[in-house]
């Protein structure tokens, strides 16, 4: 089981090291715990890790001002999250991680060129992962807050249904459907 405190510590470390790979790994592990463990606090952690992994790859992150600002707000915020969890202050942790997530997303939104921002994309990515694992469409929409229609469009363009789900041949399925009409 992936504990919240472990997730926060690994996220903090991955961000300090500016490691895209490790941030993605944290995002994935948090998403898995969201689905299996139904640990809802994993969602903002997963989103934050994913968004940071994207931001770090962008040239504007490496502007001195942006990098310093993020290090202070996000880095400092994650430090506080760890302290709060160690102190058993769960409610305060929730508020703090929510603030960290918003600060992270705001960095991207400052120069927002797209209708769908990184927050929506992060939720879709997490929802897609959970759907691939075998959670139902409505369930992943409920867990992540991602819109069901958008999850369908997203997963429709993957190979999920090609890897798992062929339970009958086309003709077996059609035999019955033909009789209906």
């Amino acid at each position: 089981m992936y504990e919240l405190i472990d997730a926060v510590e690994e996220l903090r470390s991955a961000f300090r090291k500016e490691s895209v790979g490790r941030l993605r790994d944290v995002s994935r592990r948090c998403a898995d715990e969201l689905g299996v463990g139904e640990e809802v606090d994993m969602l903002p952690l997963s989103i934050t890790a994913y968004v940071l992994s994207k931001i770090i790859q962008k040239s504007r992150y490496w502007d001195k001002g942006t990098r310093t600002r993020l290090a202070k707000s996000v880095g400092g915020g994650l430090d506080r999250c760890a302290e709060l969890l160690h102190g058993g202050k769960h409610e305060e942790f929730r508020m703090e991680i929510g603030r960290v997530m918003r600060d992270t997303i705001e960095v991207d939104d400052r120069k927002n060129r797209y209708v769908t921002g990184l927050l929506a994309k992060a939720k879709l990515k997490i929802a897609g992962r959970l759907y691939a694992q075998g959670f139902s469409l409505s369930r992943v929409s409920e867990l992540t807050g991602a819109d069901k229609r958008e999850v369908m469009e997203y997963v429709g363009k993957t190979l999920m249904s090609d890897l798992v789900g062929k339970t009958k041949t086309v003709n077996e399925r059609l035999e019955h459907v033909r009789r209906l009409f």
Binding site: V36, Y131, S136, S138, S141, V164, T167, H176, V177, L180
Partner: protein, 233 residues
Amino acid sequence: MSGDYSDSHSNSVVCDASSLISLAETCFLPVIHELSQGMRGHFLISDEVKRECIDRPLGMRSHSLTAVRLDAALRNGWIRLAGSADTEAEAGEFVAVANEIFRVGRKPLRILHRGEAEILALAKSLGVGNVLIDERTTRVLVESPAMLGQHFREEFGSRISVDSGRMREFGRMTAGMNIFRSSELLMVAYEKGFFRGFEDMEAKAAEAGLYSIKFAGCSISFEEIEEFCRGIR
């Protein structure tokens, strides 16, 4: 507008939101109209599916066109509202049983949402054996829970355990249900001449339609599309 559709024919089809969304997004709702001409029964939706497909997205800029199309289909009688006093209780049963079949360690894997459970419950309470659903998990859970179990083992490793009793119970609850997707509606529509207007591109149009419905989220594989299209080329 909730209907107590007490005269539902056993050849009716209970529709999940996922299929209606796929059909509406790809402009294939007229397939429902065409096929309903020759069926004994109707395409049925629950109040919750109406809320999910029509009422809520009417206020969403990115999805309001789909909602408008589905609203028109409802007004024109292509799809009809249906309900039963037993659906809510039945849906609770479906959720309770389905979400106890698989465990990761000691934690039950809650894979099915009440939304999908209500579709199964509505079908059962109306005595309708046909369920139209594009999303993958519910379909595989009904048709081959062992396949789903195997998939979970690949995803979560040896921590997965299966409650065979619950699996059998779910099988009893869904016995006699025939699940199909919007892709099968398109295939049958092709066989009935829906794509004839494309003349020498008729088969190509059907093939393109199947791909578009897959990309809209219908859980059909490329292999299945190819299998069908080989027979029509």
